[in-house]
Amino acid sequence: MHCVREVTDDLFWIGANDHKLHLFEAIHPIPQGVSYNSYVLLDESTVLFDTVDWSACRQMMENLEYVLDGRGLDYVVVNHVEPDHCASLEFVLQAYPDCQIVSTEKGFMLMRQFGFAVDSHQQHEVHEGDTFSFGSHTVTFLEAPMVHWPEPMVTLDLTNGALFSADAFGSFIANDGRLWNDDVDYDRDYIDENRRYFTNIVGRYGPHVQLLLGKAATVLDKIKLICPLHGLIWRNDFGYILDKYDHWSTYTPEEQGVQIVYGSMYGNTESAAECLANEICKRGVTNVVMHDVAETHASYLVADTFRLSHLVIACPTYNLNIYPPMHDFLDELRMLNMQNRTVAIVENGSWACESGDLIQRFVEDEMKDMTVLNERLSIASALHEDGRKEFEALADAIVESVGKACTDCASRFA
């Protein structure tokens, strides 16, 4: 059964939702599912903007056939070749042998690499600023390299103001019948998953996101709709999501607050983390989140690190090294280009306490513009009353630093 929505005159959403996929990109859990968005424009020519994941191919084909209503498919515009959007292209090309393909040079290269039979179709290689007319609709293209792949472009329909934004402005969470950003309480129900999607998938490429935002800013007055490849379509409140993107892509915290991430083999480091959280909250800083690094998927931790100004790492020493799940988390932050955060370290070791020094070195050497607070809490096996002075000093330092954080972050990117 087809399942489509009209977005605006002649433009249809023909995507699909996925609740079966457990791990997005085989890494990130998606308990609320994900949507694969694909769009069809019915002009003098018929145009498909991107396809869907292989798992949703059948639904999309049914939708496409329904919307075309007997017409052929003249063009497919491939904004992004990643297989969660492009895998079904293969089937589309078979079903519509006369269909012409519009994409970037690198897009075509990657399609060939993935084994799609693009060479038996007419190809239009487009570049930044090119325009293309489908009848009454004229579109223009903006290259969007390294927003997380090298080949993407975004396509702006100059006639109806629809921006086909590829993975930009996408989010986890299946649409399940909802279509618009204002169909939901975005800030309450969606932003956390949106942040987790962006920071884990695109987080590393802040400068290139900024490059794209800069290009978009020049045509902002022409944009009426932002149609991403995952999640809801934006039809208003662009400032809200642009502000989030600006924070994330400049590695600027959204909020002053403290994320405590601990690893604890027997509960002693956990207990110290709890005591520390208690001291921090007692001092009036209550925007505190705490997670067990071994129990929590790193994608959630990463999203919180992007959100908050401060990170406390409480970590045992394991085989003279950083406790491995913590090491994995830190390495994830490094890979994602995390910067401009203040870090406090709580180290534990029962006979050779090494984790603090190793973490400090990792944070200082492998990441950019990170500040490690001078005060460090060193625990020999378990926190006792004689360590109170030390951990109170750490709580003081964190609270004092949180107070200063906002102005610091603002000035860094002024």
Partner: protein, 643 residues
Amino acid sequence: MLYQTTEAQERLRAEIRAWAEKEIAPIAFQLDQNNQFPEDQVMDLGKHGWMGIPYEKEHGGAGLDALSYAIAVEELSRVDGGTGVILSAHTSLGSYPIAAYGTEEQKKKYLVPLAKGEKIGAFGLTEENAGSDASGTETTAQDRGDYYLLNGSKIFITNAPRADTYVVFASTAPELGNHGISAFIVERGWEGFTFGDHYDKLGIRSSTTAELQFHNVKVPKENLLGEEGKGFRIAMATLDGGRIGIAAQALGIAQGAFEKALAYAKEREQFGKPIGVNQGISFKLADMATKIRASRYLVYSAAELKSNHEPYGMEAAMAKMYASETAIEVVNDALQVFGGSGYLKGMDVERAYRDAKITTIYEGTNEIQRVVIASNLLGRLGKKDAKGTKKAFSADKLPETGPRRLQVFQGSDPQELVDKLVGALKADGYDFSVGIPADTPISEASRVVSGGLGMGTKENWKLIEDLAHAAGAAVGSSRPAAETMGFVPLDRFVGMSGQKFAGNLYIACGISGAKQHLKGIKNASTIVAINKNPNAPIFKNCDYGIVGDVNVILPLLTEALGPGEKEPQTEFAKIRRANPPKHEPIGPVMVCSGCGYEYVPELGDPEADIEPGTLFKDLPDDWVCPVCSEPKEHFIDRTTKGL
């Protein structure tokens, strides 16, 4: 081909030998004992025309060849190694660069009085972090239009502070390494040019050696020697020639010791015969004489090549290396021939034994001589590989004491400076109501107040003791303050060769911060420096500093910390080190639009032969992303801001 010196050369030798036997030999022991520069005798050398032997007559020299000069150094060193190096450093190092690279005006003004011996010359290249590797030069000369502003310091400078004219090497373009070094002629007495530590040396004690300090010294433009940026070449060419001088010095020291041993072997009788009849002794003498003869031919041949304008760099290095190693062996054997008598102070062989050692070290260690020789033999073999392992770009170079805050307070109101310092220390968690005894062993002390030569006199030491009490600290010192001045017992000086301090607070008063001292305090949580010289290395190694006179600052600081009774310190909680300031990046980090690779200028791209420190804009046009081969123009700045 008959290898023989000329009659004129031998006549010169005879004259200088006679002079040295008469003027130097009788006082050599006294000079050695008292660390005394033979002022009158050096002036007399000048009167004889021997202070400018290889320079043209029109520039005040004797117009003789390099071999005559080598003979002069050899003959002086035969009697006293210290006097030999006075001549060598003056002629080869202090005068040569001006003779070879100076303008006619510079030669008239500086070379003439040097060659006539009216002025004494010296050469300032070596620094704390630049010796064998001149690219580490940290002394800078900033172009200020009419003049260069010279800042920094030089160590181990022979003839300083006595010398009048100094050829000083400083960086005019630090980012260019060796290619940014320039040479300058600097006069003693110019404002801001002072002398530092007096060195208490093992040997050559009649020659004087000191540290040069430059604080905003204005060097007139006309005192730039050669071209800007050519200083490294001037230095290397000078050292090539200087090696002949040192080789001649080593040869002379060996010759002198050998002659003494030979005489003693004939004179000293055991078992009813001169000891020389024993093969144990005679074979030693045979070996000594052979090695000395080989050395002599190496030295003279290098000098001949130089006089005839043939390439001589490798040969000079061979001569220096071989003659100095021969000297070490010969003086060792000579002393052995003398037995117990040779071990006594006042014996010439004892002095020669000590004097000889420096010849394997200075003007290029013998290890460096082997590098020079080997590179002449092998060319640039392996050079490319060495590049890849080059140490991290110097922007990342840390102070000797590790990362430090480097917060130095300067100003006209000493009370304000002291208040800032005390405020900072208290903010770091220092509690000055508690204290430890002044004689707590340095290694166990949580705090130490140390004094250096800058404290001046023993009477001033009370300032240190009072401050130590007020700061709740034990008392320590720099090495010279304990060793030379005797301010404290020898077990209380701090440094690589003394006590190591690993406590919380170290307050260094009147200590310039020699490397060996800094190594002893690198584990201190907080280092405070108080010194009147703003260029003292200690300020590059401290968390907090006050530029000021210890006589003014210390009493104020004592008062501010509280001179009253202190509670005994109950626990020694290690205070964590302060966070040092972050290094400023040298240029933008650029991100590849094909894959996200980041080009970091501090790291360069060694795989593509791009040196660390190369800015992105300076990359060759055909450089591509090392990961995905994207061209240079597809990179964007890491700080790209779109909105």
